[in-house]
């Protein structure tokens, strides 16, 4: 299945794109997708330990199961306010 991933802030700067589609096996979890993302965008590994992940607009753990309707977002610690 194809999963759309959004990149924000420094994650967007490092990848050079604000959105990218990844192909993962049906039934994959966020961890599986993350592995694909780091393969395509190894530059993200420099901030990988701080990255936050959201699925359909909710903060999610790496064991979150994805579907082809999932919108995933990847971003560094927030700094609004």
């Amino acid at each position: 299945m194809k999963i759309k991933v959004l990149f924000f802030a420094k994650a967007r700067s490092l990848t050079g794109c604000s959105a990218h589609e990844f192909e993962v096996a049906d039934g994959s979890c966020l961890h599986d997708l993350t592995t694909s993302i780091y393969t395509v965008f190894p530059e993200l590994l420099s901030i990988g330990s701080t990255l936050l992940w959201a699925v359909n607009g909710k903060y999610s753990g790496q064991d979150q199961i994805l579907s082809d309707l999932s919108e995933v977002a990847c971003f560094p610690p927030v700094s609004g306010g």
């Binding site: 959004l6 924000f8 802030a9 420094k10 700067s13 901030i47 701080t50 936050l52 959201a54 607009g57 909710k58 977002a73 971003f75 560094p76 610690p77 927030v78 700094s79 609004g80 306010g81």
Partner: protein, 147 residues
Amino acid sequence: MIRLTEDVINFEDVTNSVRDVRAGAVVLFLGTVREITGSDETSHLFYEAYPEMAIRCMHELADEAKQRFPIQAVAIVHRTGTLGPGDVSVAIAVSTPHRAQAFEAGQWLIDSLKERVPIWKQESYKDGRVDWVHPGLDAPAAGKEPS
């Protein structure tokens, strides 16, 4: 009133939106862009949001605040785009029956917003440097962080 906006925040409207004859106290918090932090001079800030999630998180904050504090009404408005020194980046207003609750709720709301809501700022300094501000990463302290 829960909103993201690219325009100047009308904090009078934000404040009036929470006024209530059952409330004896209103607290408004404004986050404003500092020109100088330590030895760094800020030229401008750029705020980026994940809009759908940011709005959802702001609604969750308002709901949670109403459970934690005896709040009559809450308003949260955050600006995105480019802001200069002195500009208002965020306005949070809360009304409560008594005053101590209003201060507590206002502080909890801005503290929680800064922890949770997916909005980021990129700081441009007068010496030409440009940095994303990400707490926990090694970027220099920014003109708006911490406020």
